[in-house]
């Protein structure tokens, strides 16, 4: 009943505001007075035992109310904060007027994956950070929820408007190979196909989508959404070849010289998990986050014995090491796999955590215990080589380091142990060596990442790269942004050929 009353109140408020808006009498003070619309979400107790999406998305009324909070600033600082420069205030203005299709078209001019980005982009450090409304309240959480609005529009499109397939201009008979079917690869494939080139996407896994299917869990990004994007690529006529690992099945040189590809985009992701190099890391029950999440997401290990054949540890007590989104995803996955206790161990304080505030918040709601300013010194096991506990050291924050964050310093003699049967190491990824080792002439930096110029061109002619294999660990949107740049450069390069 309360909900219904709320909805009535919301509707009433919206009607009043729209009346003023149409009459041209809506003032900034009216907009500031609109309460920031909360994201409806699945109950935190219920969701512990399912993998369904946690954030449920705005209703139409909520979306329009939230959109009305936007001041339509002339200088649009939000656009500067967006890696792909979506015309944010324009699409928000269309939401206010209920023109959701128009809003979607505006977003799609710059971003191909709004349903994905609306869900997983760290808006609070991008478009929402410079938002004037957030600045007014001196609280970024009170900025206009651009991400939620983007998601609303994308989901509306998927529901009511059968995905329009981007137009492909006449065929050029030039061939482009895209290595990796993650967010960057999807963007490059779309943009290059639009220009009329033949495109083949090579994926090493047996399923497409890259980090969006093996890494980011269902409860944060439903796999059906990723599949829609892949289906769209297929509908455009992009070839997709799974089970093909470039560097081993064929090298880049072979693709270009034997198979006649005129250009190549490398978007293989980072893909080499880092470990802490401490005692006990080889014990049974110690996972990289990549392995843990791949088993759970890609192979659906949570349905082991019920249609899925890949097992995963049946954990009671899990410690996840790290403070990023991947650490949160791992911890929240452990909860859903039935763990009774899940600890998150991070060597700095919450302020320094690279994870999104929303993910940290969700993790806490789901009962994950945070051990901050703590870091494992070693992992302890029994005679069968199975994890029994982690021994941690307490830390304090010292002087800022190269990243600008205060360096964590261990406190001598502060050791303590936490009993666990599973440890998930989520401290980042190095560069996968496969492409580098098998592509002579491809320049890499000292960490093994591919060196590119401002057009994402590598040291080899016709070979471009972007995303994590260039940037180190980054985000979906940054990979997409580089994909855009690379695709434009590839299209330009092929004009001259």
């Amino acid at each position: 009943m309360v909900d219904k009353e709320n909805q009535l109140d919301e509707q009433q408020l919206l009607d009043e505001l729209l009346k003023k808006h149409k009459a041209g009498t809506l003032k900034a003070s009216d907009r500031y007075a609109i309460p920031p619309q909360p994201m409806p979400q699945q109950d935190s107790v219920k969701r512990r035992s399912n993998v369904n999406e946690v954030a449920l998305g705005y209703t139409e009324t909520q979306a329009r109310l939230e959109a009305l909070r936007c001041l339509q600033c002339k200088n649009a600082p939000c656009v500067e904060g967006c890696p792909v420069r979506i015309k944010i205030k324009d699409f928000i203005a269309e939401i206010v007027d209920g023109n959701f299709k128009k809003a979607l078209d505006i977003i799609k001019e710059n971003s191909l994956l709004p349903a994905v980005c609306g869900r997983v982009c760290p808006q609070e450090v991008q478009c929402q950070l410079p938002c004037t409304v957030g600045k007014k309240f001196k609280d970024v959480d009170k900025a206009v929820s651009i991400g939620r609005l983007e998601r609303f529009v994308a989901d509306w499109g998927a529901k009511f408007h059968d995905g329009s397939i981007p137009k492909v201009t006449g065929r050029t008979n030039k061939k482009v190979a895209v290595i990796g079917s993650g967010p960057g690869g999807i963007v490059v494939a779309t943009d290059v196909k639009r220009a009329g080139h033949d495109v083949t996407v090579f994926e090493a896994f047996h399923k497409t989508g890259g980090v969006m299917v093996y890494g980011i869990p269902e409860f944060r990004l439903p796999k059906a959404i990723v599949q829609q994007e892949i289906d769209q690529l297929k509908a455009m006529g992009v070839n997709i070849v799974c089970n093909f690992v470039v560097g081993r099945t064929k090298t880049i040189k072979q693709l270009m010289e034997e198979d006649g590809f005129d250009a190549v985009y490398i978007g293989v992701g980072a893909g080499l998990p880092m470990f802490m190099n401490i005692e006990g890391e080889h014990l049974v029950g110690v996972y990289s986050a990549n392995e843990y999440l791949t088993r759970a997401n890609l192979m659906k290990a949570y349905q082991f014995g019920k249609g899925a054949d890949t097992p995963i540890a049946m954990s009671k007590k899990v410690a996840v090491i790290g403070g990023g989104n991947v650490a949160m995803d791992s911890a929240r996955t452990a909860v859903r796999l039935g763990a009774e206790k899940v600890y998150l161990v991070y060597r700095r304080s919450e302020k320094e955590m690279p994870a999104r505030v929303e993910e940290v918040h969700h993790a806490k709601e789901e009962g994950i215990e945070f051990h901050l300013l703590r870091n494992p010194k070693r992992i302890l096991g029994n005679s069968e080589g199975i994890v029994t506990a982690i021994e941690c050291l307490k830390y304090e924050l010292g002087e800022p380091d190269a990243s600008g964050r205060r360096r964590p310093v261990p406190i001598p003699g502060s050791e303590f142990t936490i009993d666990v049967d599973t440890v998930v190491v989520a401290i980042g990824n190095g560069a996968n060596p496969l492409i580098g080792q098998t592509t002579p002439g491809l320049n890499l930096n000292k960490w093994g990442n591919i060196i590119v110029d401002e057009n994402c061109k590598t040291s080899l002619d016709g070979v471009y790269a972007g995303g994590d294999i260039v940037l180190g660990a980054a985000t979906v949107i940054l990979a997409m942004g580089q994909g855009r740049t690379a695709a434009a450069a590839i299209n330009e390069y092929l004009k001259g050929k």
Partner: protein
């Protein structure tokens, strides 16, 4: 792309050989490499299997496997003409082949399968190849004829003495290592425990030894780290750094423990599978 089974044969108790259509893998495969097979659907297990041979012209690879779990049992029950949905490869670094002199190839059980293309390549490169093949009992010995063809000398041992000499592979290995000149290289592939003891012997005589590891893995491209082993005190990934390593540096004890990680769940899956399927293993060829 799916991959048709062109032939299938039972080699012994629960060991099978099949030629599978996989033209891309066949064109690129080199001795020492492996594939990941995923039988059907999106949620089948990804099974790493070594390549026992390949024919680039025919576009086929030869796989030899032992039905030890649900997925390998399912593969064993497939019939000629049926298709495997996913084959990824070739994976791993190829074996370093050159003329070393005398190369001892030690194979145990199913390890003979990946060993054969390596021994063949070593022979082709001008090495004197002495093969030592071990099995628990005569019926479990595989690929004897193939090794006979490519080896300068072939020594067979069985645990129970039912065929060849009653011994473990380490015994003839040690005898050869004691001779002068010492062999230039030992390649040992088989159960972890066998490789461990082979390495203990060859270390004593300071004979370089290569082993090929078959740890648990998922993607096979360096992404998951599930296959990690400790080599010379450092963490190495079998899929991209291996599968071959300097046997004297491998921490076999750790590796053997890690390979037990899913024992319980695997047994449970196998149990369920047997209940649901009328098992034909051992009944057809």
């Amino acid at each position: 792309m799916s991959h048709k089974l062109l032939s299938k044969k039972q080699l012994c108790l629960d060991v099978y050989v099949a030629d599978i259509e996989a033209p891309l893998v066949a064109a690129a495969a080199k001795p020492g490499q492996f594939v990941i097979v995923c039988l059907k659907g999106a949620y089948s297990e990804r099974i790493p299997l070594t390549i026992a041979g390949s024919d680039a012209k025919k576009g086929t690879i030869r796989l030899i496997w032992q039905a030890v779990g649900k997925s390998t049992a399912e593969l064993s029950e497939m019939r000629v003409g049926e298709k495997v949905e996913n084959v990824l490869g070739p994976l791993g670094k190829p074996t370093h082949i050159e003329k070393f002199g005398t190369v001892i190839c030690v194979g145990g059980g199913i390890g003979n399968a990946p060993l054969l293309p390596i021994a063949t390549a070593m022979k082709k490169a001008g090495n004197k190849v002495i093969s030592i093949l071990g099995a628990r009992t005569k019926d479990l010995l595989i690929l004897e004829d193939d090794f006979k063809t490519i080896s300068d000398e072939l020594i067979i041992v069985t645990d129970d003495g039912s065929y060849g000499k009653k011994a473990l592979v380490t015994q003839p290995l040690e005898e050869i290592c004691q001779q002068m000149p010492k062999p230039a290289l030992v390649v040992a592939i088989g159960p972890a425990i066998m490789m461990k003891f082979c390495c203990a012997v060859t270390k004593k005589y300071d004979v370089p030894t290569t082993v090929s590891l078959n740890t648990i893995m998922i993607d096979g491209t360096g992404m998951c780290g599930g296959c990690r082993v400790e080599v010379g005190g450092q963490t190495k990934f079998v899929c991209v750094d291996g599968p071959e390593f300097d046997g004297h540096k491998v921490n076999f004890d750790l590796m053997m423990k890690r390979m037990q990680a899913y024992k319980k769940q695997e047994a449970q899956a196998m149990e369920e599978y047997k209940k649901q399927h009328k098992c034909r293993i051992g009944l057809d060829g």
